[in-house]
Amino acid sequence: MTFLRRQLPLLITLVTGLLFAAQYYIPHPSSELMLTSVSKWLQIIGGFALILGVTSLFHIHAVKIRRKEPGWGYSFVLYAGMIGTIVIGLWHGGKETTDGVTTAFGWIYTFMMVPLQGTMFAILAFFIASAAYRSFRARSREAAVLLIAAIIVMMGRVPLGEHLIPISGDITQWILNVLNASVRRAILIGVSLGAVALSLKIIFGVERAYLGGGKE
Protein backbone atom coordinates (compact mmCIF):
# COMPACT_ATOMS: atom_id res chain seq x y z
CA MET A 1 0.00 0.00 0.00
CA THR A 2 2.93 2.34 0.74
CA PHE A 3 3.97 1.94 -2.89
CA LEU A 4 0.53 3.12 -4.12
CA ARG A 5 0.28 5.92 -1.56
CA ARG A 6 3.84 7.26 -1.66
CA GLN A 7 6.29 5.84 -4.19
CA LEU A 8 3.98 5.73 -7.21
CA PRO A 9 2.75 9.36 -6.94
CA LEU A 10 6.35 10.50 -6.37
CA LEU A 11 7.48 8.53 -9.43
CA ILE A 12 4.67 9.94 -11.60
CA THR A 13 5.53 13.48 -10.41
CA LEU A 14 9.23 12.99 -11.13
CA VAL A 15 8.71 11.54 -14.63
CA THR A 16 5.98 13.96 -15.77
CA GLY A 17 7.71 16.95 -14.18
CA LEU A 18 10.99 16.32 -15.99
CA LEU A 19 9.25 15.26 -19.22
CA PHE A 20 7.12 18.39 -19.54
CA ALA A 21 9.88 20.74 -18.43
CA ALA A 22 11.92 19.30 -21.33
CA GLN A 23 8.92 19.25 -23.71
CA TYR A 24 8.81 23.07 -23.75
CA TYR A 25 12.19 23.12 -25.50
CA ILE A 26 11.50 20.28 -27.97
CA PRO A 27 9.36 21.41 -30.93
CA HIS A 28 9.27 17.92 -32.51
CA PRO A 29 5.76 16.84 -33.78
CA SER A 30 5.63 13.85 -31.40
CA SER A 31 6.48 16.14 -28.48
CA GLU A 32 3.72 18.55 -29.57
CA LEU A 33 1.27 15.63 -29.96
CA MET A 34 2.05 14.53 -26.41
CA LEU A 35 1.35 18.07 -25.15
CA THR A 36 -1.96 18.15 -27.08
CA SER A 37 -3.09 14.88 -25.46
CA VAL A 38 -2.01 15.86 -21.99
CA SER A 39 -3.61 19.32 -22.19
CA LYS A 40 -6.88 17.53 -23.07
CA TRP A 41 -6.45 15.26 -20.02
CA LEU A 42 -5.89 18.37 -17.90
CA GLN A 43 -9.13 19.87 -19.18
CA ILE A 44 -10.99 16.66 -18.27
CA ILE A 45 -9.38 16.63 -14.82
CA GLY A 46 -10.40 20.31 -14.49
CA GLY A 47 -14.02 19.25 -15.10
CA PHE A 48 -13.79 16.64 -12.36
CA ALA A 49 -12.24 19.20 -10.02
CA LEU A 50 -15.35 21.31 -10.50
CA ILE A 51 -17.57 18.37 -9.53
CA LEU A 52 -15.30 17.71 -6.52
CA GLY A 53 -15.61 21.36 -5.46
CA VAL A 54 -19.40 21.39 -5.71
CA THR A 55 -19.65 18.05 -3.85
CA SER A 56 -17.39 19.35 -1.09
CA LEU A 57 -19.48 22.52 -0.77
CA PHE A 58 -22.66 20.44 -0.52
CA HIS A 59 -21.08 18.24 2.14
CA ILE A 60 -19.84 21.13 4.32
CA HIS A 61 -23.21 22.88 4.29
CA ALA A 62 -25.16 19.63 4.80
CA VAL A 63 -23.18 19.08 8.02
CA LYS A 64 -23.92 22.66 9.13
CA ILE A 65 -27.66 22.20 8.54
CA ARG A 66 -27.77 18.77 10.23
CA ARG A 67 -25.98 20.04 13.35
CA LYS A 68 -27.92 23.33 13.30
CA GLU A 69 -24.66 25.25 13.67
CA PRO A 70 -24.80 29.07 13.95
CA GLY A 71 -25.77 30.52 10.56
CA TRP A 72 -27.22 27.22 9.32
CA GLY A 73 -30.05 29.19 7.72
CA TYR A 74 -27.57 30.68 5.23
CA SER A 75 -26.42 27.17 4.39
CA PHE A 76 -30.05 26.26 3.72
CA VAL A 77 -30.41 29.26 1.39
CA LEU A 78 -27.21 28.19 -0.37
CA TYR A 79 -28.58 24.65 -0.76
CA ALA A 80 -31.90 25.88 -2.11
CA GLY A 81 -30.17 28.27 -4.51
CA MET A 82 -27.70 25.70 -5.79
CA ILE A 83 -30.19 22.88 -6.22
CA GLY A 84 -32.74 25.18 -7.81
CA THR A 85 -30.18 26.60 -10.26
CA ILE A 86 -28.75 23.16 -11.12
CA VAL A 87 -32.21 21.66 -11.77
CA ILE A 88 -33.38 24.62 -13.86
CA GLY A 89 -30.01 24.79 -15.62
CA LEU A 90 -30.13 21.10 -16.57
CA TRP A 91 -33.76 21.46 -17.67
CA HIS A 92 -32.73 24.19 -20.15
CA GLY A 93 -29.49 22.50 -21.19
CA GLY A 94 -27.43 25.25 -19.56
CA LYS A 95 -28.69 27.85 -22.03
CA GLU A 96 -29.68 31.38 -21.04
CA THR A 97 -31.69 31.85 -24.23
CA THR A 98 -33.47 29.52 -26.63
CA ASP A 99 -34.41 30.94 -30.05
CA GLY A 100 -33.90 34.45 -28.68
CA VAL A 101 -36.22 33.87 -25.71
CA THR A 102 -34.74 34.07 -22.20
CA THR A 103 -35.06 30.78 -20.32
CA ALA A 104 -35.70 30.47 -16.57
CA PHE A 105 -31.98 29.70 -16.20
CA GLY A 106 -31.16 32.89 -18.11
CA TRP A 107 -33.59 34.81 -15.89
CA ILE A 108 -31.82 33.56 -12.74
CA TYR A 109 -28.46 34.53 -14.24
CA THR A 110 -29.46 37.96 -15.58
CA PHE A 111 -31.79 39.14 -12.84
CA MET A 112 -30.30 37.46 -9.76
CA MET A 113 -26.66 36.53 -10.17
CA VAL A 114 -25.52 39.55 -12.22
CA PRO A 115 -27.09 42.25 -9.97
CA LEU A 116 -26.16 40.41 -6.75
CA GLN A 117 -22.50 40.08 -7.72
CA GLY A 118 -22.46 43.64 -9.08
CA THR A 119 -23.91 44.96 -5.83
CA MET A 120 -21.38 43.05 -3.73
CA PHE A 121 -18.53 44.63 -5.67
CA ALA A 122 -20.12 48.09 -5.81
CA ILE A 123 -20.49 48.41 -2.03
CA LEU A 124 -16.71 48.08 -1.78
CA ALA A 125 -16.48 51.76 -2.79
CA PHE A 126 -18.35 52.70 0.38
CA PHE A 127 -16.24 50.49 2.62
CA ILE A 128 -12.99 51.67 0.99
CA ALA A 129 -13.96 55.30 1.62
CA SER A 130 -14.79 54.55 5.26
CA ALA A 131 -11.62 52.48 5.74
CA ALA A 132 -9.47 55.18 4.08
CA TYR A 133 -10.86 57.77 6.47
CA ARG A 134 -10.17 55.63 9.51
CA SER A 135 -6.80 54.11 8.70
CA PHE A 136 -4.98 56.08 5.99
CA ARG A 137 -2.98 58.21 8.41
CA ALA A 138 0.55 59.64 8.20
CA ARG A 139 1.77 57.78 11.30
CA SER A 140 5.34 57.56 9.97
CA ARG A 141 7.44 58.96 7.11
CA GLU A 142 6.83 55.82 5.03
CA ALA A 143 3.08 56.11 5.57
CA ALA A 144 3.24 59.80 4.58
CA VAL A 145 5.01 58.91 1.30
CA LEU A 146 2.37 56.26 0.59
CA LEU A 147 -0.36 58.74 1.38
CA ILE A 148 1.00 61.41 -0.98
CA ALA A 149 1.51 58.85 -3.78
CA ALA A 150 -2.05 57.57 -3.31
CA ILE A 151 -3.51 61.08 -3.48
CA ILE A 152 -1.55 61.89 -6.66
CA VAL A 153 -2.61 58.63 -8.35
CA MET A 154 -6.25 59.11 -7.31
CA MET A 155 -6.15 62.59 -8.84
CA GLY A 156 -4.29 61.57 -11.98
CA ARG A 157 -6.67 58.72 -12.79
CA VAL A 158 -9.79 60.91 -13.11
CA PRO A 159 -10.59 63.74 -15.53
CA LEU A 160 -11.32 66.21 -12.72
CA GLY A 161 -7.82 65.75 -11.27
CA GLU A 162 -6.20 66.29 -14.65
CA HIS A 163 -8.45 69.30 -15.21
CA LEU A 164 -7.48 70.95 -11.91
CA ILE A 165 -3.80 69.94 -11.89
CA PRO A 166 -2.83 68.97 -15.47
CA ILE A 167 0.54 67.54 -14.42
CA SER A 168 -1.11 65.00 -12.06
CA GLY A 169 -1.79 62.69 -15.03
CA ASP A 170 1.86 62.64 -16.08
CA ILE A 171 3.08 62.13 -12.52
CA THR A 172 0.59 59.26 -12.14
CA GLN A 173 1.90 57.66 -15.34
CA TRP A 174 5.45 57.97 -14.00
CA ILE A 175 4.51 56.45 -10.64
CA LEU A 176 2.76 53.53 -12.34
CA ASN A 177 5.31 52.97 -15.11
CA VAL A 178 8.55 53.50 -13.20
CA LEU A 179 8.17 53.17 -9.43
CA ASN A 180 5.30 50.68 -9.39
CA ALA A 181 6.54 48.60 -12.33
CA SER A 182 10.09 48.25 -10.98
CA VAL A 183 8.97 47.23 -7.49
CA ARG A 184 6.37 44.84 -8.88
CA ARG A 185 8.97 43.32 -11.18
CA ALA A 186 11.31 42.75 -8.27
CA ILE A 187 8.51 41.01 -6.36
CA LEU A 188 7.59 38.96 -9.46
CA ILE A 189 11.19 37.82 -9.96
CA GLY A 190 11.37 36.79 -6.31
CA VAL A 191 8.07 34.93 -6.47
CA SER A 192 9.06 33.22 -9.73
CA LEU A 193 12.40 32.05 -8.33
CA GLY A 194 10.48 30.72 -5.33
CA ALA A 195 8.06 28.92 -7.66
CA VAL A 196 10.98 27.35 -9.59
CA ALA A 197 12.58 26.21 -6.33
CA LEU A 198 9.28 24.79 -5.06
CA SER A 199 8.65 23.01 -8.39
CA LEU A 200 12.08 21.39 -8.23
CA LYS A 201 11.44 20.32 -4.64
CA ILE A 202 8.11 18.76 -5.68
CA ILE A 203 9.59 17.08 -8.78
CA PHE A 204 12.44 15.54 -6.80
CA GLY A 205 10.22 14.50 -3.90
CA VAL A 206 11.67 16.85 -1.28
CA GLU A 207 8.33 18.61 -0.82
CA ARG A 208 5.61 15.99 -0.23
CA ALA A 209 2.79 17.98 1.37
CA TYR A 210 0.65 17.51 -1.76
CA LEU A 211 0.47 13.78 -1.04
CA GLY A 212 -1.67 14.48 2.03
CA GLY A 213 -1.23 13.20 5.54
CA GLY A 214 -2.91 9.81 5.20
CA LYS A 215 -1.72 6.61 6.90
CA GLU A 216 1.40 4.99 5.42
Partner: protein, 284 residues
Protein backbone atom coordinates in the same frame (compact mmCIF):
# COMPACT_ATOMS: atom_id res chain seq x y z
CA UNK B 1 -15.68 73.97 21.13
CA UNK B 2 -12.13 72.84 21.87
CA UNK B 3 -10.49 72.04 18.47
CA UNK B 4 -8.81 68.91 19.87
CA UNK B 5 -12.00 67.39 21.21
CA UNK B 6 -13.71 68.33 17.93
CA UNK B 7 -10.91 66.57 16.02
CA UNK B 8 -11.31 63.47 18.24
CA UNK B 9 -15.03 63.42 17.61
CA UNK B 10 -14.48 63.81 13.88
CA UNK B 11 -12.02 60.92 13.83
CA UNK B 12 -14.80 58.69 15.14
CA UNK B 13 -17.49 60.02 12.83
CA UNK B 14 -20.40 57.66 12.08
CA UNK B 15 -19.46 55.74 8.96
CA UNK B 16 -22.99 56.09 7.62
CA UNK B 17 -22.21 59.79 7.01
CA UNK B 18 -19.27 58.71 4.82
CA UNK B 19 -21.49 56.19 3.01
CA UNK B 20 -24.07 58.93 2.40
CA UNK B 21 -21.38 61.29 1.08
CA UNK B 22 -20.02 58.67 -1.33
CA UNK B 23 -23.57 57.82 -2.42
CA UNK B 24 -24.25 61.47 -3.26
CA UNK B 25 -20.91 61.83 -5.07
CA UNK B 26 -21.85 58.85 -7.24
CA UNK B 27 -25.47 59.74 -7.85
CA UNK B 28 -25.35 63.49 -8.58
CA UNK B 29 -22.79 63.33 -11.44
CA UNK B 30 -24.72 60.45 -13.00
CA UNK B 31 -27.90 62.55 -12.97
CA UNK B 32 -26.18 65.81 -13.95
CA UNK B 33 -23.07 64.93 -15.99
CA UNK B 34 -20.37 67.56 -16.49
CA UNK B 35 -18.51 65.82 -19.31
CA UNK B 36 -14.91 66.74 -18.53
CA UNK B 37 -12.35 65.97 -21.24
CA UNK B 38 -10.73 62.53 -21.00
CA UNK B 39 -7.03 62.33 -21.85
CA UNK B 40 -6.04 59.11 -23.61
CA UNK B 41 -3.07 57.27 -22.06
CA UNK B 42 -0.34 55.64 -24.20
CA UNK B 43 -1.18 52.11 -22.96
CA UNK B 44 -4.81 52.37 -24.15
CA UNK B 45 -3.77 54.03 -27.40
CA UNK B 46 -1.43 51.07 -28.10
CA UNK B 47 -4.35 48.62 -28.04
CA UNK B 48 -6.41 50.90 -30.29
CA UNK B 49 -3.51 51.42 -32.72
CA UNK B 50 -2.82 47.71 -32.97
CA UNK B 51 -6.43 46.90 -33.85
CA UNK B 52 -6.39 49.79 -36.33
CA UNK B 53 -3.30 48.34 -37.98
CA UNK B 54 -4.85 44.88 -38.50
CA UNK B 55 -6.00 44.23 -42.07
CA UNK B 56 -9.62 43.28 -42.75
CA UNK B 57 -10.33 39.59 -42.05
CA UNK B 58 -7.61 39.30 -39.39
CA UNK B 59 -8.45 37.03 -36.47
CA UNK B 60 -9.12 38.79 -33.17
CA UNK B 61 -9.72 36.74 -30.02
CA UNK B 62 -11.40 38.42 -27.06
CA UNK B 63 -11.27 36.43 -23.85
CA UNK B 64 -13.77 37.83 -21.37
CA UNK B 65 -12.15 36.55 -18.19
CA UNK B 66 -14.41 38.11 -15.59
CA UNK B 67 -17.63 37.50 -13.72
CA UNK B 68 -20.61 39.83 -13.14
CA UNK B 69 -18.88 41.36 -10.08
CA UNK B 70 -16.53 43.21 -12.44
CA UNK B 71 -19.20 44.07 -15.00
CA UNK B 72 -19.21 47.86 -14.33
CA UNK B 73 -15.55 48.15 -15.32
CA UNK B 74 -14.97 45.40 -17.87
CA UNK B 75 -18.28 45.22 -19.73
CA UNK B 76 -17.82 48.74 -21.22
CA UNK B 77 -14.30 47.69 -22.29
CA UNK B 78 -15.73 44.63 -24.03
CA UNK B 79 -18.42 46.69 -25.77
CA UNK B 80 -15.90 49.26 -27.03
CA UNK B 81 -13.40 46.63 -28.23
CA UNK B 82 -16.08 44.59 -29.99
CA UNK B 83 -17.49 47.66 -31.76
CA UNK B 84 -13.99 48.55 -32.92
CA UNK B 85 -13.21 45.02 -34.11
CA UNK B 86 -16.50 44.61 -35.97
CA UNK B 87 -16.16 48.08 -37.55
CA UNK B 88 -12.74 46.97 -38.82
CA UNK B 89 -14.33 43.78 -40.23
CA UNK B 90 -12.08 41.55 -38.17
CA UNK B 91 -13.05 37.93 -37.58
CA UNK B 92 -13.95 37.84 -33.90
CA UNK B 93 -13.58 34.85 -31.57
CA UNK B 94 -15.15 35.32 -28.14
CA UNK B 95 -14.60 33.06 -25.17
CA UNK B 96 -14.15 33.07 -21.40
CA UNK B 97 -11.97 31.33 -18.84
CA UNK B 98 -14.38 32.27 -16.03
CA UNK B 99 -17.42 30.01 -15.72
CA UNK B 100 -19.71 32.54 -13.95
CA UNK B 101 -19.09 35.05 -16.73
CA UNK B 102 -20.19 32.81 -19.59
CA UNK B 103 -23.76 34.09 -19.95
CA UNK B 104 -22.68 37.72 -19.76
CA UNK B 105 -19.86 37.17 -22.24
CA UNK B 106 -22.21 35.45 -24.68
CA UNK B 107 -24.72 38.29 -24.31
CA UNK B 108 -22.23 41.10 -24.95
CA UNK B 109 -20.63 39.42 -27.97
CA UNK B 110 -23.96 38.60 -29.63
CA UNK B 111 -25.51 41.98 -28.77
CA UNK B 112 -22.67 44.07 -30.22
CA UNK B 113 -22.48 41.74 -33.24
CA UNK B 114 -26.21 42.24 -33.84
CA UNK B 115 -25.80 46.03 -33.58
CA UNK B 116 -22.99 45.89 -36.15
CA UNK B 117 -24.99 43.55 -38.44
CA UNK B 118 -22.64 40.58 -38.00
CA UNK B 119 -23.63 36.92 -38.31
CA UNK B 120 -22.67 34.13 -35.90
CA UNK B 121 -20.43 31.53 -37.53
CA UNK B 122 -19.63 33.79 -40.48
CA UNK B 123 -18.28 36.98 -38.89
CA UNK B 124 -17.86 35.90 -35.29
CA UNK B 125 -18.08 32.92 -32.96
CA UNK B 126 -18.56 32.64 -29.23
CA UNK B 127 -16.81 29.51 -27.99
CA UNK B 128 -18.03 29.72 -24.40
CA UNK B 129 -16.20 28.23 -21.44
CA UNK B 130 -14.21 25.06 -20.97
CA UNK B 131 -12.66 23.79 -17.71
CA UNK B 132 -8.95 23.97 -17.07
CA UNK B 133 -8.00 27.66 -17.59
CA UNK B 134 -4.29 27.35 -18.46
CA UNK B 135 -4.80 23.91 -20.05
CA UNK B 136 -7.55 25.38 -22.24
CA UNK B 137 -5.04 27.90 -23.57
CA UNK B 138 -2.42 25.19 -24.18
CA UNK B 139 -5.03 23.03 -25.86
CA UNK B 140 -6.14 25.92 -28.08
CA UNK B 141 -2.50 26.55 -28.92
CA UNK B 142 -2.12 22.95 -30.02
CA UNK B 143 -5.48 22.49 -31.76
CA UNK B 144 -8.36 24.91 -31.41
CA UNK B 145 -10.92 22.34 -32.58
CA UNK B 146 -9.91 19.83 -29.93
CA UNK B 147 -10.29 22.49 -27.23
CA UNK B 148 -13.66 23.65 -28.59
CA UNK B 149 -15.21 21.08 -30.98
CA UNK B 150 -18.46 23.08 -30.82
CA UNK B 151 -19.27 26.68 -30.01
CA UNK B 152 -21.53 27.93 -27.20
CA UNK B 153 -24.59 27.15 -29.34
CA UNK B 154 -23.42 23.58 -30.02
CA UNK B 155 -22.51 24.33 -33.64
CA UNK B 156 -19.43 22.43 -34.92
CA UNK B 157 -16.52 24.87 -35.04
CA UNK B 158 -14.60 23.02 -37.75
CA UNK B 159 -17.10 24.01 -40.45
CA UNK B 160 -17.41 27.69 -39.53
CA UNK B 161 -16.36 30.23 -42.19
CA UNK B 162 -15.19 32.59 -39.45
CA UNK B 163 -12.52 30.05 -38.43
CA UNK B 164 -11.34 29.27 -41.96
CA UNK B 165 -7.56 28.92 -41.91
CA UNK B 166 -7.43 29.00 -38.13
CA UNK B 167 -6.01 25.79 -36.74
CA UNK B 168 -4.61 26.99 -33.44
CA UNK B 169 -3.65 30.11 -31.50
CA UNK B 170 -0.66 30.47 -33.82
CA UNK B 171 -3.14 31.64 -36.49
CA UNK B 172 -4.72 34.31 -34.29
CA UNK B 173 -3.47 37.83 -34.99
CA UNK B 174 -4.39 39.52 -31.75
CA UNK B 175 -5.63 38.30 -28.37
CA UNK B 176 -7.04 40.54 -25.67
CA UNK B 177 -7.90 39.21 -22.24
CA UNK B 178 -10.28 41.31 -20.17
CA UNK B 179 -9.33 40.12 -16.72
CA UNK B 180 -10.66 40.56 -13.22
CA UNK B 181 -8.14 38.33 -11.48
CA UNK B 182 -5.23 35.94 -11.71
CA UNK B 183 -6.77 33.76 -14.43
CA UNK B 184 -6.52 36.25 -17.23
CA UNK B 185 -3.77 38.33 -18.79
CA UNK B 186 -0.86 36.63 -17.00
CA UNK B 187 -2.28 33.18 -17.82
CA UNK B 188 -2.63 34.15 -21.49
CA UNK B 189 0.97 35.37 -21.52
CA UNK B 190 2.59 32.45 -19.71
CA UNK B 191 0.68 29.63 -21.41
CA UNK B 192 -0.24 31.35 -24.68
CA UNK B 193 1.80 34.17 -26.12
CA UNK B 194 5.14 32.91 -24.86
CA UNK B 195 4.76 29.64 -26.80
CA UNK B 196 2.34 30.35 -29.63
CA UNK B 197 3.69 33.81 -30.53
CA UNK B 198 0.54 35.87 -31.03
CA UNK B 199 0.30 39.52 -30.03
CA UNK B 200 -1.35 40.05 -26.66
CA UNK B 201 -3.14 43.02 -25.14
CA UNK B 202 -4.99 43.37 -21.88
CA UNK B 203 -7.89 45.01 -20.18
CA UNK B 204 -8.44 44.76 -16.45
CA UNK B 205 -10.16 46.15 -13.39
CA UNK B 206 -8.57 49.22 -11.83
CA UNK B 207 -7.54 47.28 -8.74
CA UNK B 208 -5.30 44.81 -10.60
CA UNK B 209 -3.93 47.28 -13.20
CA UNK B 210 -0.82 48.35 -11.23
CA UNK B 211 0.23 44.68 -10.98
CA UNK B 212 0.27 44.37 -14.76
CA UNK B 213 2.57 47.31 -15.53
CA UNK B 214 5.72 45.11 -15.47
CA UNK B 215 4.21 43.06 -18.32
CA UNK B 216 3.44 46.25 -20.21
CA UNK B 217 6.87 47.81 -19.74
CA UNK B 218 8.65 44.63 -20.84
CA UNK B 219 6.52 44.30 -23.98
CA UNK B 220 4.89 41.06 -22.81
CA UNK B 221 1.58 42.81 -23.46
CA UNK B 222 1.41 45.57 -26.04
CA UNK B 223 -1.23 47.66 -24.28
CA UNK B 224 -3.40 47.83 -21.20
CA UNK B 225 -6.90 49.16 -20.67
CA UNK B 226 -7.19 49.79 -16.95
CA UNK B 227 -10.56 50.00 -15.21
CA UNK B 228 -13.45 52.27 -16.06
CA UNK B 229 -11.00 55.05 -16.95
CA UNK B 230 -9.39 52.82 -19.59
CA UNK B 231 -12.81 51.92 -20.99
CA UNK B 232 -13.72 55.62 -21.18
CA UNK B 233 -10.47 56.35 -23.02
CA UNK B 234 -11.26 53.59 -25.53
CA UNK B 235 -14.78 54.93 -26.03
CA UNK B 236 -13.25 58.35 -26.78
CA UNK B 237 -10.83 56.77 -29.27
CA UNK B 238 -13.56 54.97 -31.22
CA UNK B 239 -15.84 58.03 -30.99
CA UNK B 240 -18.63 56.14 -29.30
CA UNK B 241 -19.32 57.45 -25.81
CA UNK B 242 -21.02 54.86 -23.63
CA UNK B 243 -21.36 53.83 -20.01
CA UNK B 244 -17.67 54.34 -19.23
CA UNK B 245 -17.57 57.99 -20.29
CA UNK B 246 -20.86 58.53 -18.45
CA UNK B 247 -19.34 57.03 -15.30
CA UNK B 248 -16.17 59.14 -15.31
CA UNK B 249 -17.78 62.18 -13.68
CA UNK B 250 -19.05 59.98 -10.84
CA UNK B 251 -15.60 58.45 -10.49
CA UNK B 252 -14.02 61.94 -10.44
CA UNK B 253 -16.37 63.06 -7.69
CA UNK B 254 -15.86 59.87 -5.65
CA UNK B 255 -12.06 60.06 -5.94
CA UNK B 256 -12.12 63.66 -4.77
CA UNK B 257 -14.46 62.80 -1.91
CA UNK B 258 -12.00 60.11 -0.75
CA UNK B 259 -9.04 62.52 -1.13
CA UNK B 260 -10.92 65.10 0.95
CA UNK B 261 -11.73 62.50 3.60
CA UNK B 262 -8.12 61.32 3.78
CA UNK B 263 -6.81 64.90 4.11
CA UNK B 264 -9.39 65.74 6.78
CA UNK B 265 -8.68 62.58 8.73
CA UNK B 266 -4.94 63.41 8.72
CA UNK B 267 -5.54 66.99 9.86
CA UNK B 268 -7.66 65.69 12.75
CA UNK B 269 -5.11 62.99 13.51
CA UNK B 270 -2.20 65.46 13.61
CA UNK B 271 -4.19 67.81 15.83
CA UNK B 272 -4.93 65.08 18.38
CA UNK B 273 -1.38 63.69 18.21
CA UNK B 274 0.19 67.12 18.80
CA UNK B 275 -2.13 67.70 21.74
CA UNK B 276 -1.30 64.28 23.25
CA UNK B 277 2.47 64.91 22.83
CA UNK B 278 2.15 68.28 24.57
CA UNK B 279 0.22 66.68 27.42
CA UNK B 280 2.94 64.03 27.81
CA UNK B 281 5.70 66.66 27.88
CA UNK B 282 3.89 68.75 30.49
CA UNK B 283 3.38 65.65 32.70
CA UNK B 284 7.07 64.73 32.48
Amino acid sequence: MNPVSFAERMLHIDRRIIFFMIGLCTLIPLLYPVGLAIKVSPEVKSVYDYIESLPEGSVFLLSLDFDPASKPELYPQAVALLHHAFKKNLRVIGMTLWLPGTGMASEVVSRVAREEGKVSGKDYVFLGWSPGASSVIINMGQDLYKAFPTDYNNQPTAEMPVLKGVQSLRDVNYVISLAAGSTGIETWYVFGKDKYKFELGGGCTGVIAPGLYPLLRSGQINGLIGGLRGAAEYEVLIGRNGNAVAGMDAQSATHFAIILLVILCNVFYLLTRTSKNRAKQSRS
